[in-house]
Amino acid sequence: MSLLPILDVVLAGLVIGVAIFTITARELFASVVGYVAYGLLLAFVWIRLYAPDVALTEAAVGSGVTGVLLITAGKRLGALKNAAPEAQPGFAFKLLTGVLAALVASALGAVILMLPDPPPSLAPEAAAAADGAGAGLGNPITAVLMSYRSLDTMLEKIVLILAVVGVWSVGTDKAWGSAPAPLRQQEPYAPMVFLAQMLAPVGALIAIHIFWTGANAPGGAFQGGALLAAMWMVTMMARLTDPPRIDTQWLRVALVAGPAVFLISGLAGEVVAGAFFAYPPSLAKPIILFIEAFMVLSIAAALPMLVAGPPSERPD
């Protein structure tokens, strides 16, 4: 008897259990820690769904970087010492909301059981296009992201830049141009420094490898970029470097490099390959890897800036 079905049920139970804990925990910090654990468990669920690319992204971005963001937020909120205790919602309201949520979840569950069989899928089309528009990429998800639905990916990079500007705009007028507050206010913690010095170079190499191998195996620009971003954040947390000033040119260029290169290649496609965002057949794979390299740079620059927050005036 295979153990996998038992594993699946246990995993599902754990995921739901941790999710309930996250929602019902009294303290904010407990809730955030619960969410990080939940994210890691989800990565396992993704593996069971034969989605290693998504598992990597969920672990790196969904649980990892989001966890850092939320924990940093919790700490900074705690430091601001606010919060008159929130007015707790009444029992009737809780009941009503619970009923609504239960209805939505049950309707959704019922509908999922009613999804058509045989399920419609674009896998055959993706397989057929693999050598043509797919540029011979061995990883079909990279083909989807960079070729078939490249407009989505390019726009999503723009969304990232926009989020960075949005986060920066929340700062004060006086602080504009200076650097965000360091990720860690206290003195550098020696083991952390050691970890950063050991881990960051190794992590950076692994990140570049994950990006490079994403053309033919699970991985790609998003996963590699997220890992590289994590390494930069580790060095910032160890106070080996500090967040840069937001008006530094290299930072701005790094942030727009990905979408800019993507855009230029997309516009050039009209001239070179007959349609915007098309690739000339013989050069498709090198061009895609070239664009992805700059995307890694942009993602690695954007994610830590989103966590670091708006520029802040420093007492010095």
Binding site: P119, P120, A126, V165, S169, V256, G269
Partner: protein, 496 residues
């Protein structure tokens, strides 16, 4: 139904119209500083030209123009599609964004002596991002592409709400963000179910494949619910008044005039383009009832407001209600009338509301406050501004000649022609209530009191506001050819 298989002549313009503001954003961000406003202002005439060119091509072809991105046809690739209403909305967005850019120039140009300022860079980048997002929404043919566009729109609109940094604006922005995020995730869930049911997210292909199954109904309900939250239809309207009233005038104009119309446009795409084959009468009636509730509730609350900008924001809530009357009215044999009414309402409200917010901004700066009771005699010192408010009010109330009158007249016609007399009640009641709150603004202003200006208004800003309201009035004279143009590409059930 337009074939989705090939790129049509002029299709490349669709990509250019999306990419122009995107390029503007990138160039505004990287060198930064003063380049942001220069690039934004310089790109506006080109954007307007592109929109007009698209309209010209659609008119000449008599059917939608299509572009296959990357040359790859759906379902694997993404198609862009511009039909009659797309073209009209592209032109309207270009005009209003241009007006907002030039109106905002005195306030948001980078001050002298500073290389870059927070509010300037933010404003110009967000404005171009809103423009890009709207253009994608108007020409997008793929539901997930439209999801990314909706997120772009939200991330651009939210920082504009709190651009001046006061705590109440930040709270309003946060509430807006949370509502909008709920809307996006609900929309995305619907997209997942559509894909699970039919294996494609292309609007034309889905329209061919969709059937009346529980999966499709649930997906439609989820997407609609999400889009209603973003369009601030009653009862999900709570985020809108504080957000629009506290944003700076140029931002409020774009938020009320265009941003909420983007998610409404997608609701139209969902129900009239993807799902016309479904027996959706009950849904149409529900949406019509919610719209009527919005008209009444929004107008009544507007009547009780002390601040001008809050009154105008609640007026937006009410006028959005009119938009949802298009669902019950654009059905059956007289659907063309109802459809024309809905689009005319979108346009008339966009221009009139933008002009009203510009005027409210001018007023607040000139008089130092925007309390309605203290407006005594203001019309004598700010004649152009109050002329703009009066003409804009004319359109909002729906008096001839104005676009608003055209819209409401067509709605009344459609109600009668389709036998649904009941909808005439909220239309007429809304008109009366709107007259009430416009009267509330104008009466003190036209009185004989003396009032002095804190700051003289800028002539250029007054002219821009007046120009927009003139467009709202001019829409009332739209010829039949305009309404025929709106029919291009609209799927009509029952016709071969």
């Amino acid at each position: 139904m337009a074939e989705s298989g090939t790129t049509t002549p002029g299709g490349y313009l669709l990509v250019l119209t999306i990419l122009l503001p995107v390029v503007g954003m990138i160039l505004s961000f990287t060198p930064g500083g003063r380049n942001a406003e220069r690039i934004a202002l310089c790109s506006t005439p080109f954007g307007f030209a592109l929109a007009c060119a698209i309209a010209f091509h659609v008119n000449r072809a008599g059917k939608p123009i299509v572009y296959l991105v990357g040359g790859l046809p759906p379902p694997l690739g993404i198609a862009l599609r511009a039909d009659g209403i797309s073209a009209v909305m592209l032109v309207a967005a270009a005009v209003i964004v241009t007006a907002a850019a030039f109106y905002a120039r005195p306030k948001f140009a980078t001050p002298d002596g500073v290389s870059e300022s927070r509010s300037s860079l933010t404003f110009w980048i967000m404005l171009q991002a809103i423009w890009a997002a709207l253009n994608i929404i108007f020409v997008g043919g793929d539901l997930f592409n439209l999801y990314v566009a909706l997120e772009l729109l939200t991330f651009a609109a939210v920082p504009l709400v709190c651009i001046d940094g006061r705590p109440e604006t930040i709270a309003a922005a946060l509430r807006y963000l949370l509502f909008a995020l709920f809307g996006s995730i609900s929309y995305l869930l619907g997209v997942a179910l559509f894909y699970g049911a039919h294996g494609t997210l292309d609007i034309s292909l889905l329209a061919e494949r969709v059937q009346s199954t529980p999966v499709v109904w649930t997906a439609a309900a989820l997407m609609t619910c999400g889009l209603l939250a973003k369009t601030a239809l009653f009862p999900l309207h709570l985020w809108l008044p504080p957000a629009h009233a506290n944003a700076p005038a140029a931002a409020s104009a774009v938020l009320s005039g265009l941003v909420v119309k983007g998610s409404f446009f997608l609701t139209l795409r969902l129900w009239f383009y993807i799902l016309p084959a479904l027996p959706a009468e009950k849904v149409a009636i529900v949406l019509g009832c919610l719209g009527s509730a919005a008209i009444i509730a929004g107008s009544v609350i507007a009547l009780r407001q002390a601040r001008l900008k809050l009154l105008i924001a609640y007026s937006t809530v009410a006028q959005i209600g009119y938009l949802f009357l298009v669902f019950p009215l654009a059905t059956g044999a007289s659907s063309a009338i109802g459809w024309s009414a809905g689009v005319m309402q979108i346009l008339a409200h966009a221009f009139a509301k933008a002009a009203m917010f510009f005027s409210a901004g001018l007023l607040a700066e000139a008089l130092g406050h925007d309390q309605i009771v203290k407006l005594g005699g203001a019309a004598r010192v700010l004649p152009l501004t109050f002329l703009t408010i009066a003409l804009g009010g004319l359109s909002l109330v729906g008096l001839p000649p104005s676009g608003g009158f055209s819209a409401k007249w067509l709605m009344l016609q459609a109600s009668v022609a389709s036998g649904q007399w009941v909808w005439t009640l909220p239309i007429l009641a809304g008109g009366l209530l709107a007259a009430g709150y416009v009267y509330r603004i104008l009466t003190p202003a036209l009185s004989d009191d003396q009032i002095s200006l804190v700051l003289p208004p800028k002539r250029s800003q007054e002219v821009i506001a007046l120009a927009l309201t003139a467009v709202a009035i001019a829409l009332g004279f739209a010829p039949q050819a305009f309404f025929d143009f709106l029919e291009i590409g609209r799927p009509v059930v029952g016709q071969p």
